[in-house]
């Protein structure tokens, strides 16, 4: 590494922000093609119903209408059903029971908002008006929304393929060893834990513009995707839209995803198909109501957890039973979230010799559920850290000391649930966080708050998560349909400017800045000479996209490998040009130097020489461009301690988060400012889940919180000014030592908040979201007289 003022560790401002701040971002809905028409979907108002008849005659006759297309036509044209890309087997060895998911449904609708037909018209308003004029007769069926209800005998049967609505009944860990641990336990703590359902709510709603050009039999799709190559692969290989070389997928600026834009949804598929069918380019942009009803939701677990301690308060066993609600259909990665992304993290930061977890996933008449910021790890962390806090209280130990007593301290550490932790220092982050919050001074702060009539509480969360997904061979053996490597290409232009093509996709993460910082660090060139190219299957050869905090640990590792090759070739050429031996060449501040002499050649001149090719070493090809694929060797394991302090107003139940300290270990940090931004956003989403957000359905399957009038997003005045710090252990698994920081905040914060509130109110009977009304009710049931006052 040559180092650079704009290189690794520099707090440079985000290069992409100018266009976003001045309103010049280029999003899918900004794209327009001559002759473009607009799609509007006809959607089911029922959560569960038979489609008795559909009459589109009146709609077809309306002004501007090009076509009204139905599910029958879609099926007749051989467009495939939507798939789930991760095979899970039940503990009895049978494969998961997947019901058919058609992009337009013409027989049985299974959630409110499911599309049954599409209208293509010249204007958006015309399409909408005509969609309203399509007359659909439904025979309503009984619906079920809660996963526990869906498993009860006699519950409405949602898919014929999944008897009793059970998709799979999966397990991990050693059941017998865990039984034995509980049999010898000195203390057992038992809890029921619910993880609330969330709506992702990226600022930019989903959008697609599909353009079929008949002369070339070629499709172009602009879409809001976190992984355009995966989208193309799935659209080609499974949905029969077009072979890959006849389908270009472009994901331009994307305004946030949080997981919800990983998946292929019915609407993009239908736009592609409709463009061919009608001969016009077709655009659809979701409105906010459609987003609430059709963007894949997150979380929604019911769990029972038990922890066994020996007489010395060491954990000897953990037993978990979880029922996960997957909604009406299995979305692209839905099966992996409550299994390999969840139960493999149940060991937390702790040395637990025996763990067993059983997971049942269930169909319900609700919006499909899939990965949402954190994907499985927030569910695991919430469970483990609520259990840790509760157990410490039950045995009368200080919650920090109880955790410390059970920390993993030697690495690598093999857990009983697949994961092998490679590096970490959990004491370091716990110490840093406790010092920053002034843990010892809490009693005085609580007393002072009591004088103001407030209940003050403190709560911890020592989280661990797994990022950098993932070693392809490992995930393949666990059922993944794809490999999870990443690719990169570094193109040095003749004038020495550099384009980096990456399979990662930026939708808020700041790749145009951090990836360029890596190039600057390695080659000593200025950031202004580097551009990052992503999001277009015609430009970038292949890539797996961005999710699971993988773009640093996996995407940048691929770039680093490609840079190794570029540097090596340039060094050989520089040695040749300066008539020196390669071993004497150094690269400092963007200039190749011959050690011990004053001979030097700037990097850009070496690049030019590679392209003029007038004077090349024997056998060297002209040009300076290298590609690399990087397949990780292990997951990475970011970890840290969060401490939250709250004050509860006992009269209203309102919680104020008055202090929040986050001590994270993300390994190497490329840009501290961007990392802090990621943590701020993650913490705010986590506090949102803990205090405010809830996707609430009524018994008929209507989403009650289907707009911002009823779904509470966290706002600036709901969160404190965070106090962030990092403790660094480098990740041994990748060349840069990076672990990933994109989801930690959302993963680690909810239990810290709930632990703090339950500490404040003196009762543990509280679930998320801890709205004022819920906290007031918990207080009232714990101390009826006091709360009624």
């Amino acid at each position: 590494m040559t180092g650079s003022a704009e290189g690794i560790g520099a707090r440079v401002t985000r290069r992409e922000d100018k266009r976003f701040i001045i309103g010049k971002g280029r999003y899918t809905d900004d794209m327009n093609v001559a002759g473009m028409c607009h799609a509007a979907f006809v959607r089911s108002p029922h959560a569960h119903a038979k489609v008795a008849s559909l009459d589109a005659d009146a709609a077809r006759a309306m002004p501007g209408v090009i076509a009204v297309l139905t599910g029958e036509e879609l099926a007749a044209d051989g467009v495939g059903n939507l798939i789930c890309g991760w095979m899970i087997h039940s503990k009895d060895g049978t494969p998961m029971k997947m019901g058919a998911w058609r992009a337009l449904e013409h027989e049985t609708v299974r959630h409110v908002g499911q599309a049954v037909a599409v209208v293509v018209a010249e204007t958006r308003a015309q399409a909408r008006d005509a969609a309203d004029a399509v007359v659909v007769d439904y025979d309503a069926l009984d619906a079920v929304v809660d996963s526990l209800d869906a498993l009860k005998p006699g519950a409405p049967q949602i898919h014929p393929e999944a008897e009793g609505n059970l998709i799979y009944d999966w397990e991990i860990g050693d059941e017998a060893a865990t039984e034995a641990a509980f049999a010898s336990a000195a203390h057992v703590t038992r809890m029921e834990i619910r993880n609330n359902r969330l709506v992702p709510n990226p600022m930019e709603p989903r959008s697609a513009l599909a353009h079929y050009e008949e002369a070339d039999e070629h499709y172009t799709l602009w879409t809001t995707s976190q992984n355009p190559h995966v989208a193309r692969l799935v659209l080609s290989a499974f949905y029969n839209i077009a072979p890959e070389h006849k389908l270009r997928v472009i994901a331009p600026d994307v305004g946030g995803g949080f997981g919800s834009k990983i998946y292929i949804y019915p609407e993009e598929m239908v736009c592609l198909w409709a463009s061919k069918k009608t001969g016009v380019p077709v655009k659809w942009t979701s409105d906010r109501t459609e987003a609430f009803l059709t963007d894949a939701h997150g979380r929604d677990h019911h769990s029972e957890a038990e922890v066994a301690l020996d007489a010395d308060n060491k954990i000897i066993g953990l037993r978990v039973k979880t029922v996960a609600n997957l909604g009406a259909y299995m979305s692209l990665f839905s099966s992996s979230v409550p299994t390999y992304l969840y139960a493999t993290l149940l060991s937390g930061q702790y040395d637990i010799p025996a763990i067993h977890c059983n997971v049942k996933t269930v169909y319900t008449n609700t919006t499909p559920v899939d990965a949402y910021r954190g994907a499985g790890r927030p569910e695991a962390t919430y469970l483990v850290e609520r259990v840790m806090e509760t157990t410490a209280r039950e045995v009368g130990m200080d919650p920090a000391e109880f955790r410390r007593k059970n920390f993993v301290r030697s690495f690598p550490h093999q857990t009983p649930v697949i994961m092998c932790y490679d590096a970490g220092d959990y004491d370091a982050s716990l110490d840093a966080a406790l010092k920053a919050i002034d843990y010892d001074g809490f009693a005085a702060r609580k007393a002072e708050a009591a004088r103001r009539g407030k209940l003050r509480g403190i709560g911890l969360s020592c989280y661990i998560e797994a990022c950098g997904i993932a070693p392809s061979q490992a995930v393949g053996s666990l059922g993944a349909g794809v490999g999870l490597w990443e690719s990169a290409e570094v193109r040095v232009n003749p004038v020495g400017t550099i384009e980096v093509l990456t399979g990662s996709h930026s939708h808020g993460q700041g790749h145009e800045t951090t990836f360029a910082q890596l190039v600057s660090e390695r080659l000593g060139v200025g950031l202004d000479t580097v551009s990052i190219v992503h999001g277009d299957t015609d430009k970038v050869q292949f890539g797996m996209g961005t999710y699971g905090s993988r773009s640093g640990a996996v995407g940048m590792s691929a770039i680093s490998k490609a840079l190794d090759k570029v540097e090596s070739k340039a060094r050989k050429l520089a040695a040749h040009l300066m008539e020196a031996s390669e071993g004497d060449i150094t690269l400092e501040g963007g200039t190749f130097k011959v050690a011990g002499t004053d001979k030097e050649l700037p990097f850009f001149q070496v690049a030019l020489a590679a392209y003029t090719a007038h004077n090349m070493p024997e056998g060297m090809e002209p040009g300076l461009k290298e590609g690399a694929f990087y397949d990780p060797t292990n997951f990475t394991f970011p970890a840290g301690t969060y401490v939250c302090e709250v004050e509860v107003d006992p009269e209203t139940g309102k919680t104020e988060v008055v202090d929040f300290v986050a001590a994270d270990d993300f390994g190497t940090i490329i840009n501290p400012m961007i990392v802090e931004g990621q943590v701020h956003g993650g913490l705010t989403q986590g506090i949102g889940q803990a205090l405010l957000e809830n996707a609430a359905y009524d018994a008929d399957g209507q989403l009650l919180s289907a707009s911002y009038m009823d779904y509470t997003m966290p706002r600036a005045d709901d969160v404190p000014s965070y106090r962030l710090m990092t403790t660094v252990t480098e990740c041994p698994g990748n060349p840069l030592g990076m672990k990933g920081c994109g989801e930690a905040g959302a993963i680690g914060s909810p239990p810290a908040v709930i632990n703090a509130i339950t500490d404040a109110i003196g009762t543990n009977a509280l679930e998320m979201p801890a709205t004022a009304a819920n906290v007031w009710r918990a207080l009232k049931s714990a101390q009826p007289a006091q709360a009624a006052e």
Binding site: T771, W776, R777
Partner: protein, 265 residues
């Protein structure tokens, strides 16, 4: 949104004429309720008549010992008005906590009263202070104006032109906002006037804003926060939804009443 025709009225008479001329016209004031409703395709007026450029319907003046506020006056103007802050500080504070800055700079008092959302803030002030609503046809006391959820005494094409508030020796508003919409889950306006103490509750009632006899009686005997601490509200009369039970709202009414009384001091 469905297509609609926009008209800018130049006077109250012009607005009334335009309203009468169109097939299904609606008054458009700040648009903060009407436009979102139209965007969700829940309302489809053939024509909208914008009244915010009518000089007679704007501004804040002292009149007959009270305050007259033009119907098209924005929440931000009420919140920032020296007259309102001096004479009815509780009203200025109420206006300053409606929605967010965008909403306060567009939304108007006339629009809010005409809409009579059961969770809106202004109706509680109008009812507690005993305001008079002026229209292009008549004057209506607040008591008679609010007739139920989203219901008022206004005729089909009647236009609210101004609101007149009598003065009060003390007044204050305490609101517990809905966490999502930030409308009132329970808002209590307490006014102490020559005619006695009046208390109006918004956000919580099944039929919209209402006067609270229990709180008024308690405060008539002793105007103190302690006096209302033991006053309860029958949950059967209150709203329940995903944000809070009727019992929770009943509790909030008492707590907000205490806080409003304390703020009067």
């Amino acid at each position: 949104m469905y297509e609609t025709n926009y008209h800018r009225a130049t006077s109250v008479d012009d607005a009334a004429a335009k309203l009468g001329a169109a097939e299904d016209a609606k008054v458009l004031s700040g648009g903060q309720t009407l436009l979102p409703t139209m965007k969700q395709r829940l309302a489809a007026p053939s024509d909208v008549i914008d009244v915010t450029h009518i000089a007679d319907m704007k501004g804040i003046t002292e009149s007959g010992g009270g305050i007259r506020i033009g119907a098209a006056t924005t929440h931000a103007e009420v919140a920032g008005s020296e007259i309102v802050k001096r004479m009815l500080p509780g009203l200025a504070a109420l206006a300053g906590h409606i929605g967010d800055p965008h909403v306060r700079h567009m939304g108007t008092i006339g629009g809010s009263l005409a809409n009579n959302d059961p969770a809106a803030d202004y109706p509680s002030a109008a009812l507690a202070l005993g305001a008079t609503i002026h229209t292009n046809a008549r004057q209506i006391s607040a008591e008679d104006f609010f007739t139920g959820m989203f219901e008022t005494a206004l005729d089909e094409s009647e236009i609210v032109t101004a609101v007149e508030f009598p003065k009060a020796s003390a007044c204050a508003y305490a609101k517990y906002p809905n966490p999502a919409s930030r409308y009132a889950m329970a808002g209590v306006f307490v006014a102490r006037t020559d005619g006695g103490v009046r208390v109006a509750v918004t956000g919580a009632g099944q039929n919209g804003v209402f006067r609270h006899a229990g709180l008024e009686d308690a405060l008539a005997q002793s105007f103190s926060a302690d006096a209302v601490a033991g006053v309860t509200t029958d949950p059967d009369q209150l709203l329940a939804d995903i944000h809070g039970s009727a019992e929770y709202r009943a509790n909030l009414v008492t707590v907000m009443a205490k806080r409003a009384v304390a703020a009067c001091a």
